[in-house]
């Protein structure tokens, strides 16, 4: 770890915020020779409220949908100045700012082959504006715009497959990670930073407020998402699946019951089985199940 703190205390994230933890880990892994381009969202708002900034590296706000585009400009400027070899560029945004409104800019950046690490902090909804449903909100999740009600059991659509969309661009490196499994996250960021070209890392970050979980359980909740198969930890290199983190699958109920946003599911066997099916499909598709050793 570097001597100087690159993400300092005093930011106004909620206690136990998974995204603040992940952002800290990402910039520590990337190091001080990094320029960060950040979209509008929780991370930007809680880390840079004038006149205070929690960032110990150069940092610029892009707007909501264009972190990838502003980062492309920063990267181009560094190339022009002959400094790109020694300075990392990270573009970061939430799930909505990446996969919904930000998808165009992300696709352009990936297609053009910029030497940028794009980090998507996936807390599975538009949290900063008050927990609204995004394209990455998981099935059955209770959000304010996909609420549980008299005739609704929450969000009816599956997560948009952003890692696959990124991988389909044929870029050198795509990975998913979780703030619940930190060494894996750190390894992936370091690996990505060492590769030339566009990289995409999607980090699952529990949100105590939006997901309604105990703020002390941020790590545990994140870990359970991985261990149930609901959030596969995978790596793609040049468009091909290259590695997965094996799990000994736990039933999805263990993960769902930790969060208020799924509390309507826990006693609903039909919805529960649909979510188990999502997990089972992931386990099958990515071959996540650890081999039994006898």
């Amino acid at each position: 770890m570097s001597n100087k703190q690159l993400f300092v205390p005093g930011h106004t994230a909620c206690a136990g915020c998974g995204q603040s933890l992940a952002a800290k880990l990402v910039i520590e892994a990337a190091g001080p020779n990094t320029i960060v381009v950040n979209n509008t969202g929780c991370l930007e708002v809680f880390s840079t409220k004038y006149p205070e900034t929690a960032w110990g590296v150069p940092w610029v706000h892009s707007l909501f949908e264009n972190a990838a585009a502003v980062a492309s400009g920063v990267e181009s400027a560094l190339k022009y100045l002959g400094k790109k070899e020694t300075i990392n560029v990270i573009a970061q945004a939430g799930d909505g700012g990446t996969g919904d409104i930000g998808l165009q800019a992300l696709s352009g950046m990936l297609e053009r082959g910029h030497d940028i690490l794009y980090v998507c902090y996936d807390n599975e909804a538009y949290m900063n504006t008050g927990i609204q449903r995004s394209g990455l909100t998981p099935f059955a999740s209770n959000t304010t715009t996909s609420p549980v009600g008299g005739v609704s059991a929450g969000n009816i659509r599956p997560k948009k497959p952003l890692p696959e969309i990124a991988a389909a661009h044929g870029i050198p490196y795509v990975a998913t990670a979780s703030v619940g499994i930190i060494p894996d996250l750190q390894r992936k960021v370091k690996k990505a930073i060492s590769i030339r070209g566009p990289k995409y890392i999607q980090i699952h970050v529990p949100c105590p407020l939006g997901w309604r979980h105990d703020p002390a359980l941020t790590m545990q909740v994140g870990k359970l998402a991985v261990e149930t198969g609901l959030y596969p930890l995978i790596e793609y290199e040049n468009g091909v699946l290259s590695a997965v983190r094996k799990i000994t699958p736990k039933p999805v109920e263990e993960y769902l019951k930790t969060q208020g946003r799924f509390k309507h599911i826990v006693n609903n066997p039909q919805e529960l089985s649909l979510i188990q099916e999502i997990a089972d499909n992931n386990i099958r598709k990515y071959n996540l199940k650890a081999e039994q050793t006898s």
Binding site: Q5, V8, A15, T48, E52, W55, T218, M219
Partner: protein, 84 residues
């Protein structure tokens, strides 16, 4: 003429988020600590410091009392106690 525009790095340290704690705070027992560094790594505030065994502690000026450090310590050497 210029108005509010940029900020020097690390100025958020002026904001003492320790005042947020209402329920509990971590107590670092410093008896069974193995210096695994997990508490320091896991703190979303980055306000835990330490080097060798039993030297880990947090800066209560910033600690929000989330409790992740206590949950992650493999030796249960951090407990959450009632906030004063």
């Amino acid at each position: 003429m210029f108005g509010p525009l940029t900020s020097k790095s690390g100025t958020s340290k002026n904001n003492k988020t320790g005042s947020w704690r209402t329920e509990s705070r971590p107590k670092f027992l410093k008896t069974n600590c193995i210096a695994c560094k997990m508490c320091r790594i896991v703190c979303p505030e980055g306000c835990i410091t330490g080097t060798e065994k039993n030297t880990y502690d947090c800066d209560y000026a910033f600690c929000k009392g989330c409790g992740n450090c206590a949950m992650i310590c493999p030796k249960q050497d951090i407990t959450m106690i009632k906030e004063e």
